[in-house]
Every structure is written in C-alpha cells, then in structure tokens.
C-alpha cells in the first residue's frame, strides 16, 4: 500500500490515477449507473437527472469561481440562455438536439464572453455586482422578447429523438444527461493538467504576479468565462429537454445562488467538490420535502411551519459549511479517505 506519492517520471506526474484500482472502480460505477433506469422509479430518476444537470453546471461555475477566482452571480442567466437557445434552435430552426445543444452552448459561451469583459476592469465584489446586473438584464430580455421566447407563457420543447426514438421519459433522458456528464468531468480534469488550467489557478492566487510572469490576464480571464458559460449552455440545453417546458421563473437569482452554494459547500477548486455540491444541494430540498410530507401526515396543521424550514436549513447549511469547513465536502472526503488509508497512523 502506497504512502505518499512517488512519481518518478514526467509521464507519471501527469497521470490522474496512480494505480489501476480507481479506474476499475470508476468503470464499474458507471456500469452500475447505467443500469439504474431499469429499476428506479421516475421520481428518483428525475432527482438523478437534476443532479446530472447540476453537476455540469457546477463544474462550469467552479472553473470560473473556484479555479480562476472570478466571482460570478450570473450563472442562472447563462443557464437560461443555454436553455432558451436550445429550445429556439430546435423549434424555430428545426435543428436536431445533437446540433442544437452544442450550438446553443457556443452561443452561451459568446454571451459569457460579453459578460466577462467587466472582469478585466473589476475584481471581487465589483465583479459580483456586475454579474448580478447581468442576471437582471438577461431576465428582462427573456421575459420581454416574446417573439422568440414566448415570455412568461412558457416555451414548450419537443422531446429529442435518437434514431426516431423520442427521449420523453426520465429513464431515457438519463442516458443523454449522463453521457454528457462523463466527458464534462473528464474535460475539466484534463483542463487543469494543461497550461490553460494552470494559468487559471495562477490568476486566482495572485493575478498581478501571474501577469508579471507572462500569463495574459485578458486572454485567460475571458477564456474562463467562455468555458464556464459553455458548460452552463450545455446544462441549460439539458434542462430544456428534461423539463420540456421553459419558464423565465425557472432561472431566478435563487438558482444562481444555489449553484454558488453547490461549489462552496462542495469545495471550490475541486472537481469532486462540484459533484458533491451538486448532489448535496439537489438532495437537500428532497429530503426536507420527504420529512415535511411524512411529518405532515402526522401533524397536518403544522404544514406551514414545516415548509418554511427549507429556507432556514438552506441558510444554516451555508453558514455552517463556511464556518467550519470552508473547503467544503471535498476536503472532508479527503480527510475521511486519508484517515482510512493511513489508519492507525492517522496523525
């Protein structure tokens, strides 16, 4: 059993996994995941689908906020652009989904580029506020450009068809979603093995020093926005296909805050963190709902009381994680894992 990392060649340094065990475990995991739709209920498939979409979105946001240090509260706007673009391309331009989603994602990344421009002048707090404004402006456009988006009345999306088979149930959409989650995760992991990824991290840590060293802030900050919005565009496109009807209400500021909570609770600057955060934030309301429903069965009059605990639990979860474990669930996972690995020498 290895203790510590002994990498003796450049090639070895680049590897994601040191031994074959994790790779085998991962492949088995994916195979099991693939069999889930056969016996899970629609409800749980719906939850898993939403987790998958959230993972892609969270990865994108983490690239921007966690790895490059650019605070963005505009993620909901990017998701909206991705979702509506996909829907409009399919309905009005007749594109099939396997073209509509990538094209929509490209459109979203252009959009992200535009919103990345303030990041060249603004930092931290001011950038956050600028992205907040971007969110409201986008929301306005979506609600009022009725010719394209149907505004508040909702935009219906026909199901994607694969070789004539419509993907109109949660079980079928599951495959599409997770077929995209895997490459998204892999791409992110690889991104941070390359020059681009390292440039992002340098910008986050000390951007003035990075630019002195030759990292072009202009190019890499915009690239971060571009890539992050691409992910959001893909996630948005999947949302369009999953829920099949788009409302501006589905992309409120709360959604952006939810995603930020995902990466903070999960762990900023960590891929595993994005995944954990996405799972946590999607499951939290479901668990609350389940306990609310079962408690209401016993105390029907307490329904209002119980329902309002959602906000409290959400707020407390954020506060708690930020206070006790700022690096999130990923860090806890690492600690648990190393505790097991090194037991009984866990000091």
């Amino acid at each position: 059993m290895k203790c510590g990392g002994f990498r003796v060649s450049y090639r070895a340094d680049e590897r994601i996994f040191d031994t074959y065990t994790p790779i085998v475990a991962l492949i088995l995991f994916l195979i099991v995941l693939g069999t889930v739709p056969r016996f899970a209920s629609t409800y749980w498939l719906d939850v898993l689908n939403r987790i998958g979409i959230a993972v892609i979105g969270a990865l994108g946001l983490n690239i921007l906020v966690g790895y490059t240090g650019q605070i963005s509260i505009g993620h909901a706007a990017f998701l909206a652009v991705g979702a509506y673009s996909t829907a409009i391309l399919e309905v009005k331009a007749g594109l099939p989904f396997y073209l509509a989603i990538p094209v929509a994602a490209l459109l979203t990344s252009m959009f992200g580029l535009v919103f990345g421009i303030p990041s060249l002048r603004l930092k931290g707090l001011y950038l956050a506020i600028a992205t907040l404004a971007a969110h409201f402006i986008t929301a306005y456009v979506i609600i009022h450009w009725e010719a394209m988006t149907n505004g508040v009345l909702g935009f219906m999306v026909p199901p994607a068809t694969v070789f004539g088979l419509p993907l109109d149930s949660d079980a079928r959409i599951f495959y599409l979603i997770f077929a995209l989650v895997v490459p998204a995760t892999l791409f992110t992991k690889n991104l941070f093995r390359t020059k681009v990824g390292r440039a992002f991290i340098a910008i986050r840590d000390r951007d003035v020093a990075a630019s002195v060293m030759g990292v072009s802030l202009f190019k890499y900050k915009l690239l971060a926005f571009l890539i992050s919005s691409f992910y959001a565009g893909v996630a948005g496109g999947l949302m369009a296909h999953h829920s099949r009807i788009l409302f501006p209400d589905a992309f409120t500021l709360l959604v952006a805050i939810d995603y930020l909570a995902m990466i903070i609770i999960g762990g900023m600057g960590s891929i595993l963190g994005s995944i954990f955060g996405a799972v946590f934030m999607t499951l939290l309301p479901e668990i609350l709902k389940l306990s609310a429903t079962s408690l209401t069965g016993v105390y029907p009059q307490a329904f209002g009381f119980i329902a309002s605990t959602r906000d409290i639990v959400f707020g407390l979860a954020i506060i708690f994680f930020l206070m006790s474990e700022p690096q999130g669930l990923a860090r806890i996972w690492v600690r648990v894992r190393s505790y097991w690995k090194l037991w009984p020498y866990s000091y």
Binding site: G154, K289, Q301, G304, A307, S308, S324
Partner: protein, 398 residues
C-alpha cells in the same frame, strides 16, 4: 479534536431527518390520496398560506365524517415556492410513488407546466389558476379550474362598463393594468378582442412588475389617455399600491379588480384609496351569510381560532369540496378517468353556497359563469349585484 465532532453532528442530523421519514404510520386500510401543491415561500405566498390551511382543514373535516365512501383522504402536501421545476418534481413523485388520484394544483406556473403530464397520466387537476387557457377540454381534458375564469371576468368588466355608460357622445375608454407574468397576462388578449366586439375603447395597457412599490410612472402614462375605467389583474398584495398611487395622483379612473386582487383585506391595505373600488367576487368572504360559512368558521375557531382567514381560506375548502364530490361520484374504485367523468357530471352542484353552483361538462370546463360585483364602501366590502356572462363557446380555451 473538536474538528471531529463536526462530522458526527452532521451524521446525527441526517439520521434524525431520515428517521422522521419513517414516522408516518403506514395505513393498512386503503386511502384516497390527493396531491397538494402550495406556494408558501414564493411571490404568492400571501394566498398560499390560507389556501393550504383551508385544504388541510377541509380534508380533516371530511375525514372526521368517514372520508369518501368509507375511505380516508390522505393529503400529500408539497411546497413548491411558485417554481415550475419543483412543481414538476413534486408531481412526478405524486404519480409514481404516492399514486395520487387527483392533484390539487395551485397557480398558473404549475398548472401550465404540468399540462402535458396530466393529460398523459390521466390525473385530474383541480387548480387555483383560473386562466381561460385551461377551460377547453379539447386542449386540456384533465384540467378543472376551480372558479370563474379570468377571461369571463374580463368580459364581466367590459359588460359592466358598457351597461353603466350613459354618455352617448363617445365610447367609454378603458385600460388594462396587469402583472408581468403568466397569470397577469392570461386574459388580456381575449379582453382586447371582446372590447373591440362590444364597442368599448381600449386606450391603454400598463404592465406592472411582479414586485414593486411604486406605480406612479405607469399611472401617469395612463392618465394621459384618460380612461374612464381600468381593470386590474394582479394579486391582493399588489393592488393597494396601484390604488394608493392613483389616489395620490387624483385620478378619476374607476377601478374594477379581478377575484384574486380584491378581498376582505383590501380596505385595510389600501385605506382611503380603496373607496369606490369594485371587485369581482368568486368565493364567499369570511362571515358571508351562506350555508357553509358556519361550518368553516366553527372549524377554524376550534383548531386555530386566532389565525388569519381571508378568502383564500374559503377557496381551499371549496376545491376540496368539489374534489370530494367528484371522487364520491366515481364510486368504490375510482380512477383518474372515472373521476374526470364524475366531475364532468357535476351540474349546478351546490358548493355549500361558497360560490355559485358549479357545472362542468365534457365540452366546457368552466365551472360557472356567474359572479358577484362588490364595492368597497366605508371601509367595508359591500355586495352590489350578481352578474353573469354567456357561456359562449367562442371564448373557451382563450
């Protein structure tokens, strides 16, 4: 080692929550399950609280009397914050896990989002969204709006304008003021057409945002067109802002407000500005002299007497009463389809006097075409007269 307690505490918390999942007793007897969607934390939460309370109370009332055909009613309630994705998720659970017979929906976003699903799954949907789009069984066979639809209401308004207009030198001028969301916009298109049809001049349309504190600029713009009447299509919590700003500006326009915009609370919320304002009443107000009112008031007093009880509370009861009747008529082994047919057999059904009698047919899911005009006089809501519009099939589904 204080760091180690963190995970332990978290684990315990999760454990407590998880164990609460098992708290609900598993009933050995069959029960009738109804899905219940409510907004308690979102933009219409002011209505949601009373609606939820009304539904819970009504269910308890019926259960105390043996349920429906001997089976207890189980209300499975989910709070969805007026966000369509959460409504869809809740619905999927209702249908797959809980196997509900009927869903008590809430408002326009959830009803619109779930339309394709309920048609496919054959689940009757009794909703608080009275949008005209939901009244045509050819398009939405399983939707049953729980009250007079918005399109009929705007027609009532325009008819009222036409009837009370005495100046023969010109046509009456009207304006629409509506909220910037699906609910606010629902009847506007039909309103425009109908105004044109009956010869009323629609001179202005003002959009108010979903959340706002000041409508002065919109009212100033409207003032330029000088409408004689204006129809406000938004909720009770927002209407007072419009009324107060109008009062401040000294506008002469007379206001008529839809069923969700004016109720017992309006005089208190709008003060002097509410004098002379007219509303369309779809459901009884608290304390009205109708047969069912005593039952509601007694129940409310017995279980939570100090709590609020505005008209949404009555609506909560109303929809459960209608649902229960539909399920009762469907017999001993009700299915979604049989309940739908049973609801469509309701003819002049007496809803304990809380509303005009309900009639659904297989061609027309508009429950009623009658309402009452009320006016705020001396700080109180006073009934004016009963009104009705024709059940014109031209306006169905619009």
């Amino acid at each position: 080692m204080s760091r180690a307690y963190g995970p332990l505490v978290r684990f315990l918390l999760v454990g407590v929550l998880a164990s609460s999942l098992g708290v609900a007793s598993v009933d050995a007897q069959p029960s009738i399950k109804l899905g219940n969607l409510v907004d308690l934390t979102g933009p219409t939460s002011d209505q949601g609280k009373d609606i939820a309370q009304g539904r819970i109370d009504a269910t308890q009332y019926f259960n105390e009397r043996g349920g429906i055909n001997g089976k207890k009613i189980e209300l499975i309630s989910v709070e969805y914050g007026f966000q369509p994705p959460r409504a869809v998720a809740a619905y999927k659970k209702f249908v797959e896990e809980d196997k509900v017979l009927l869903v008590l929906g809430y408002g326009t976003p959830d009803t619109e989002a779930l339309r394709p699903y309920i048609t496919k799954d054959k689940v009757p949907y009794l909703s608080g969204s009275y949008s005209g789009h939901l009244t045509d069984p050819r398009q939405t066979p399983y939707n049953f709006p729980g009250g007079i639809d918005y399109t009929s209401q705007i027609r009532i308004f325009l008819n009222y304008v036409k009837e009370t207009w005495t100046d023969t030198s010109r046509k009456p001028r009207v304006a629409f003021i509506f909220a910037d969301n699906a609910y606010g916009r629902a009847p506007i298109e039909s309103g425009r057409k109908y105004a044109q049809e009956i010869g009323v001049d629609l001179v202005d349309e003002e959009v108010i945002p979903t959340v706002f504190t000041d409508a002065t600029s919109q009212l100033l713009t409207m003032k330029k067109k000088d409408p004689d009447f204006a129809y406000i299509n938004t909720n009770t919590q927002w209407v007072p802002v419009v009324l107060k700003d109008s009062y401040k500006l000294g506008l002469k326009t007379k206001y008529v407000i839809n069923n969700y915009g004016l109720d017992e609370r309006t005089p208190a919320l709008a003060g002097d500005a509410a004098e002379g304002v007219i509303g369309i009443q779809d459901v009884a107000y608290w304390g009205d002299n109708v047969p069912g009112m005593k039952i509601l008031m007694d129940f409310h007093k017995k279980h939570h007497g100090s709590d609020t009880h505005a008209s949404p509370y009555m609506r909560g009861w109303l929809w459960v009463i209608v649902a229960v009747e539909g399920i009762k008529r469907a017999g001993d082994a009700p299915t979604g389809e049989s309940v739908k047919r049973a609801l469509e057999s309701l003819k002049e059904f007496d809803t304990w006097g809380l509303t005009p009698p309900f009639t659904y047919t297989s061609e027309d899911h508009r429950p009623t075409n009658r309402a009452r005009l009320v006016m705020i006089k001396g700080g109180k809501v006073v009934p004016m007269r009963e009104v009705s519009v024709e059940r014109d099939m031209k306006w169905i589904g619009k």
